[in-house]
């Protein structure tokens, strides 16, 4: 019997390869937000993508005329909930990807999606259908970074916003996305008109007046939102833009460039390293302290001192962006929802800007606790300089406050360098220990004192990793200069996954990071366009996201 089965499987491998939907790869076609976070549902009437293998013909087929039908290129898609079955409307099919419109009469809630290609059925894959969940298209196709927004200049001049083609306050913008909700018919040319779905647009956290929110006339399953850049919107090259529908569901957060007069934002703001084309070098030293008291019997402080250095070669792009270097303007926040565990090895798309190489074959650090010479290898990227674990481990921490001399011997490609960094005492996160349960629907206030007031930059970040679904949502905020507190708005926490009852299935943590001005140095390294050294403190605490 076993041999027969094995034979059948072998034959099957050659003759009958059914379509395969990759696990959890039914996503909003614009945002790619994972299914397991609130913003990852597929809205009725929206365009969604299915990724997999053998899903359709090797040569892509795309719809070209109305009315659309339930089959394209011998590909059809069923959406099933119990005894209810509807057909999605494919608009683009090829072997590895399908784009389709979720019918406006699709059942709400969890459904099972199957693809049929040349009469072979795929595996079922679960998705969640919602009345509205918006995704914003992005220029880099990652679901974050510069969004597809057009600056309205005139009917005939509407360039796509980018750091070099910035908008200005008061300017009308057209944002492209999908997920505003159901329409009367998904298969005919859309009727122009705002939909009933309540829509809010936030630019740098500031609510923007909306002029239109509905289907775009050209394309079934695609929406446009026309809004005005608020007069008090923050300025910057990567101002966060988010859409909230029905008062609760938040889109992916993309960016747009805003300057006071619409000129290139790089005329007003420096071009960050690792975003601008060129070779960039970085030396970083940091102390990370994380108080862990969720799921533990007693609070445990895990402390580590780390150091890294590397060079990166970055290519030019019309939509330059680095998911973390292209940070939001001071006083604002952004967030990303992605597959993987960003706290254990997975990286955001575009995080590795260009090619990462060794900056120096050997690094020396001399400070209050003596001299350390460490290799500049990329693996491990971070060197552990010392650690402590409450009273369980001997305290070997190295990066105590003080003055540090750093130097590198260079490589065949890059010259040697040296610099002095002064590391003052870090700030104190004053309400850290009062923070335990974080209600994602309410503002989160973070307070601190000390450090280098007026001469430090402070960042607040939060991570929600849901291990069973292999999903991370992270938010990051930049505190205004001189601030001693920051309020994280619910908007950027909306897509954090709720912490699970079993704390080992979630990683929920808030970080406050400070970067003292005196811990920064410009490195002049032959062969490197620009290079910097920085010293930072990162203070974290595990929490429960509710």
């Amino acid at each position: 019997m076993g041999r027969i089965l094995l034979y059948l499987f072998s034959v099957g491998c050659v003759v009958a390869q059914p379509p395969l939907i990759y696990n959890r790869k039914v996503l909003n076609a614009a945002s790619y937000v994972p299914q397991s976070v609130p913003g990852g549902a597929i809205a009725r009437g929206s365009t969604f993508s299915i990724f997999g293998a053998r899903l359709g013909p090797a040569t892509p087929v795309q719809v070209s005329q109305f009315p659309l039908t339930g089959a394209l290129g011998n590909v059809s898609i069923t959406v099933t909930q119990g005894t209810t079955v509807v057909n999605a409307i494919p608009t683009y099919v090829r072997d590895s990807q399908i784009n389709a419109i979720m019918p406006s009469n699709a059942p709400l809630g969890a459904v099972s999606i199957r693809v049929t290609y040349n009469n072979f059925k795929s595996n079922p894959m679960t998705a969640v259908i919602s009345a509205s969940t918006f995704g914003i298209f992005t220029a880099r196709g990652t679901g974050f970074g510069p969004g597809i927004l057009q600056n309205f200049v005139s009917q005939s001049v509407q360039p796509i916003n980018s750091p070099t083609i910035a908008a200005k306050p008061g300017q009308a913008m057209t944002l492209w996305g999908t997920g505003l909700g159901a329409v009367a018919s998904d298969v005919v040319a859309p009727v122009v008109g705002s939909l009933a779905t309540p829509v809010e647009v936030f630019v740098g956290g500031v609510s923007a007046p909306i002029l239109y929110s509905g289907r775009t006339p050209c394309c079934a399953g695609i929406d446009q939102i026309v809004f005005t850049v608020p007069a008090n919107a923050p300025l910057g090259c990567w101002v966060p833009v988010a859409i909230r529908t029905a008062g609760s569901t938040v889109s992916n957060i993309v960016t747009m460039a805003i300057t006071s007069d619409g000129s290139s934002c790089f005329d007003s703001f420096p071009y960050p390293p690792l975003v601008k084309a060129g070779t960039h070098g970085a030396f970083l030293a940091m102390r990370v302290t994380t108080r862990q008291d969720t799921g533990t019997k007693i609070p445990i402080d895990v402390n580590g001192d780390y150091q890294t250095s590397y060079a990166a070669q970055v290519e030019d792009s019309p939509f330059p962006f680095h998911p973390l270097l292209s940070g939001p303007p001071p006083g604002t926040c952004t967030s990303y929802s992605v597959k993987g565990d960003l706290l254990q090895g997975n990286e955001l798309a575009d995080f590795v800007a260009g090619t990462r190489t060794v900056l120096s074959s050997s690094i020396s650090i001399s400070g209050p606790k003596g001299l350390k010479t460490i290799p500049g290898a990329l693996a491990p990227l971070f060197n552990l300089l010392g650690s402590s674990l409450s009273n369980l481990l001997p305290n070997t921490l190295y990066l105590d406050p003080g003055t540090y001399q750093i130097s590198g011997t260079g490589t065949a490609s890059y010259g040697a360098f040296s610099a002095t960094i002064n590391s003052p005492a870090p700030l104190t996160w004053t309400n850290r220990d009062q923070l335990s349960v974080v209600d994602r629907s309410k503002p989160l206030v973070i307070r601190w004192s000390g450090g280098s007031p007026g001469a430090q930059d402070v960042f607040v970040a939060g991570f929600g990793v849901d291990l069973p679904t292999n999903t991370t949502t992270v938010f990051g905020c930049v505190a205004p200069d001189g601030a001693t507190s920051f309020t994280v708005p619910p908007l950027v926490m909306a897509n954090l996954p709720a912490s699970r009852p079993n704390p080992l299935q979630s990683k929920s943590v808030i970080y406050v990071a400070s970067y003292p001005d005196s811990g920064f140095a410009n490195l002049n390294i032959p062969g490197v366009t620009n290079a910097y050294a920085a010293f930072s403190f990162v203070n974290g605490k595990t929490v429960i996201f509710q």
Binding site: M1, L5, F9, L20, Y22, N23, S112, R114, S122, N123, P124, T126, P270, P272, L274, V275, L284, V288, Q292, T294, G295, K297, V302, N303, Y306, T308, L324, L325, G340, D341, L343, G345, N346, L348, F351, P380, F382, L384, S387, L389, L392, L393, D457, L467, P468, T469, P501, N502, P503, L504, V509, Y511, A513, Y515, F520, N522, A534, S536, V538, T542
Partner: protein, 392 residues
């Protein structure tokens, strides 16, 4: 200085970024204390913490082997030993006050246990500094082991190692699963029964009569649903059991002799092994549709990493060695094969997410796979081995 703000900010947040995205600090052997003593198996009739040299010190009489029917012949109770679910609900947390240890810690007991406090941490410094292991920690979880021949389930404390209770169940029990809250254990008995054990009282509170020779069992993370495989060539099915009402709510026909079932961490998929049929199926739990089938030689055990992004499947390929297949659960492709000892059965991913432990039944050995280096270390145990439970 402020003119440098943006640049400074950029490099600053770079540091935060790299740190937080885990390119370094958390891409780690986060819990790197001696892992080799962290599992249990039956060797020559004795429960064993295995590090290749050390066994539980039963010989001095402190641990009375007569109390415990750890089978000498593992084929009498093959791979179906299950430890408690991971924290936060270690079984011992609810029963340790009543524990009456009969024995003492393992020989050299001061080094036999990973400190509980470390195991609870979501994050640790990386690489984890070398740490001396702690003394026996009474919060270590209990283990439940099925004895097929004697129709018993034995509850063991692991710190110290001792029998807490033997529980009689319906004849020819095979596999056991525990609800995440640690309140209930479900045991399959080949002779058409599923036993519900109240773990507060260590008694069978209900026996569900069925018709399909139940074998493998898995419980969802919400503790509401159990899936049971019928080791039968006629009534070959996967049964869905509502744990609260203790009823079979659904059955799905499969190929002959489904043996074991394993839920993906998000409970969305059920991996079903057919060692006789040389196949593994994946069933969508929402629809009950078997959508993926794979030809794998004698698959026996499946373990997932915590994220469910990888599955590790033991394959008893015959001969002097076996295999562990590393399976990408997103693309459903085997991406790597490790050669281990003969007849691999039980498998577990350790809490460091880097180490995979395999018990090789026919080979009488354990294999340890380092997923970072790909290195496989196989230790001969001197006798056939069966059962694996992580003492987390």
């Amino acid at each position: 200085m402020k003119q440098l703000f943006k640049v400074f900010y950029a490099i600053g947040i770079l540091g935060l970024a790299i740190l937080l995205v885990g390119a370094g600090p958390f891409d780690c052997d986060c819990h790197n204390p001696d892992l080799t003593r962290s599992w249990v198996t039956c060797i020559d009739g004795h429960p064993t913490l295995t590090d290749g040299t050390e066994t539980i010190d039963y010989k001095d009489g402190k641990f009375n082997p007569n109390d415990y029917a750890c089978p000498k012949n593992p084929l009498e109770s093959p791979e179906w030993v299950h430890g408690s679910q991971p924290a936060p609900f270690p079984l011992s947390s609810q029963t340790s006050a009543n524990a009456s240890p009969k024995g003492r810690a393992a020989a050299g007991g001061t080094v036999a246990y990973v400190p509980r406090i470390l195991l609870d941490l979501p994050f640790g410094p990386s690489p984890f500094p070398k740490i001396g292991l702690s003394t026996c920690d009474a919060t270590s979880p209990d283990i439940l082991q099925v004895n097929h021949v004697n129709s018993l389930v034995t509850r063991l404390t692991t710190c110290p190692f001792a029998v807490k209770k033997t529980i009689r169940v319906a004849s020819r029990p095979l596999q056991i699963a525990i609800t995440p809250d640690g309140q209930m254990a479900l045991v399959t008995s080949f002779d058409n029964a599923i036993n519900f054990i109240d773990l507060n009282t260590n008694t069978v509170v209900f026996t569900l009569s069925v018709f399909f020779n139940p074998h493998g069992i898995a419980i969802t993370s919400d503790g509401k649903t159990a899936y049971v495989a019928s080791f039968d060539n006629i009534n070959s099915l996967i049964a869905t059991i509502d744990i609260a009402s203790r009823t079979v709510t659904k059955t799905v026909q499969t190929n002959a002799y489904p043996q074991s079932v394993f839920l993906s961490p998000d409970d969305s998929q059920l991996y079903i092994t057919f060692p006789f049929g040389n196949a593994m199926f994946i069933m969508d739990t929402m629809t009950g549709i078997v959508g993926n089938t794979f030809a794998i030689t004698a698959p026996r055990g499946v373990a997932f990493n915590s994220r469910g992004s990888k599955a590790f499947i033991t394959s008893a390929t015959g001969g002097s060695s076996g295999s562990v297949l590393q399976f990408d659960t997103e693309t459903f492709q085997v991406e790597r094969t490790y050669s281990v000892g003969a007849g691999p059965t039980d498998i577990a991913v350790m809490y460091d997410e880097v180490t995979v432990v395999v018990v090789n039944n026919e080979g009488g050995s354990t294999s340890t796979i380092n997923l970072k280096t790909g290195q496989v270390t196989t230790l001969a145990l001197g006798a056939p081995a069966a059962g694996l439970a992580i003492l987390r």
